[in-house]
Subunit: 202 residues, 4 copies
């Protein structure tokens, strides 16, 4: 959260004076923002319309999310929390295959559309999507890299490249092909790509 929300563990005793921040309002803002992005697109997702659609005043939104980039990223993260978790048990190659396939499905759907809009907003405001990289991709990538490292140690894959590069070769390629419409992405294509990059043993 960019919004300076009190961390869940820190304020057990020290309750600050004044009316506490309404979590209902927060949720309404983030969900309304996501909904607008999903249905109306990036250019229609303005503070004005988020306020109108949720019944929250503009000032309240500005207070906690002073830039549109912050608002959109948080709205996206709020939804993404439950999406596409990387399972930790099972055969690493099977896990990556399945995950890449569901990533492709997500890219082709609403989630992918919203993700792309968030990325565009980051580039538009900051000139870079590094914020999105850090706050969203980074965590998933770390989990994937750990998985691939285990696969290498256990001799399950033939590729000897650094696992971070292997990860990027899979997801970067899929993102590139999807974003620029270079080919139609299917679950099968995703699985084939995984096999080409990782070269599973056996």
């Amino acid at each position: 959260m960019i919004s300076t929300a009190p961390e869940p563990g820190s304020e057990t005793i020290a309750r600050r004076p004044g009316r506490p921040r309404s979590t209902a309002v927060q949720q309404a803002i983030l969900q309304g923002t996501y909904r607008l992005m999903a249905t109306q697109g990036l250019s229609a997702t303005t503070y004005e319309r988020v306020a109108a659609a949720t019944g929250v005043s503009k000032v309240t939104i500005y207070k906690w999310w002073p830039t549109r980039e912050a608002l959109l990223v948080d709205a996206f993260l709020e939804q993404a929390r439950t999406f596409l978790p990387l399972p930790e048990n099972g055969h690493p190659v099977a896990i990556v295959r399945a995950h890449a396939a569901s990533y492709v499905a997500a890219l082709n759907g609403t989630f992918g559309r919203v993700q792309l809009a968030v990325i565009a907003e980051c580039i538009g405001s900051s000139g870079t999507a590094a914020t999105f990289g850090e706050r969203y991709l980074g965590k998933r990538r770390a989990a994937g890299v750990a998985l691939l490292m285990r696969a290498q140690k256990e001799g399950l894959i033939g590729a000897t490249d650094p696992p971070a590069d292997l990860y990027d070769m899979i997801y970067g390629t899929l993102f590139y092909q999807s974003t620029f419409g270079l080919r139609k992405l299917t679950a099968g294509a995703a699985r084939r790509l995984v096999d080409r990059v990782l070269r599973p043993a056996g």
Copy 2:
């Protein structure tokens, strides 16, 4: 060109009446737009400011580039025409190595910043960057794919995957890592990636 300019060969006969379109004005618009994007960023590159910076009236810009997407893409293409040509003679692996290295250099510089802004604008207006993929990436990719196909035929590389996928695995990975700030991109990293993907013979 999105702008409905007369194609270079077609105007020998059908010379339309009235004052012909000023190429100086056209050039001023495209170059001014590029300069604004490079120096002020995407959000500052508005019709209003392009008009003010170039002394051209807004209406004239609207006439030939009815959307901001069209304007930015054309301004980018105008500059990109001379950049990063893929040489046709020489050892394919060496060519790709050199090209990937200079692609990384471009991504790290002004050109990369502008390119990213154009992509963001496409996503923001149309919801997709497919226009950019078609009008810019597509042509370069076709050349690269042809080169890789030749390399495969001549047995110069070990990778047997479809050349289009090989191409995307190189440039998609670099784009992904650059855009999301996942790693610092250097010429050496680019060359290593090329070798991992293509597995040159010998």
Copy 3:
């Protein structure tokens, strides 16, 4: 007019480039502003509502009347042009008597309400109502003073004070009593006051 309208005599030949300013829009703004002041009061007379009520955009209003003070004063003057003209022929004392009586009537009506609102706005923005004094009262006062001067020269009134002071003693007293609700003002009271101040001969 604070709005820099071209003076009616100056532009007979030199037509400035660009779309000419719409007089209909100007009129709509001034009349809508006056109507709002008369019906809703000063605090409801905002740029926002003037724009909404007239169908004119806020920017257009701001362009020609950059402050609310300017807008309200001009809206008032536009209406006042036809009100309360001081006739030039006739017996000076009779003229002043009649004029003071109709001034009182105006003060008690819509015109007086609007006038007071304009004055309050001037005080609120500039800290003084001198603008209103110059642009509205000044002209009428000059006419009245000239009339009183003639009356003195012709020996029609007994008061020997400077005519400007005589004028202020009449209209200032009426304004004071009206504004602060010190007494109910009637035409008769106005005439009596005129006689006390001027002391007509005979």
Copy 4:
């Protein structure tokens, strides 16, 4: 006072439960409000800034002065209590002369600026300054009228008009000339006006 303050003698018996109202807070509010009006002007004198400047919470101010008009009038009256008292002994004409002169001085200074702002606020909120007339002018006028009545009875002045009108002819004229910037007001001008209106005997 509009604020329902306990009268100075009444709280000896009826002590209401709970924390008693802080007179220090009341004073801070009124003085802070006056100071803001004197230094920053009417438009800067908002609840928000009074609260910020005095350290009192907005709600507390609202509780006792539910409208800005009430707050400004009370803040003004609090200061005005000690200003410009009309002495009761001495020659009536001399008293009025001196008082008019000091009224003019006050009008030209901070006090006059604040007074005008309060009047403007009354007009802006209620459409009339009658509240100000009743709560401030009324009392002073009553004293002045009594004085002038005595002067008439004792044959000290030649003017036979009702004393209330005489009073308004002096102070109304001065207020009018000051407010609309019709002439520069000096002590001498004030004295001359008094003499013209009252026509002292001898």
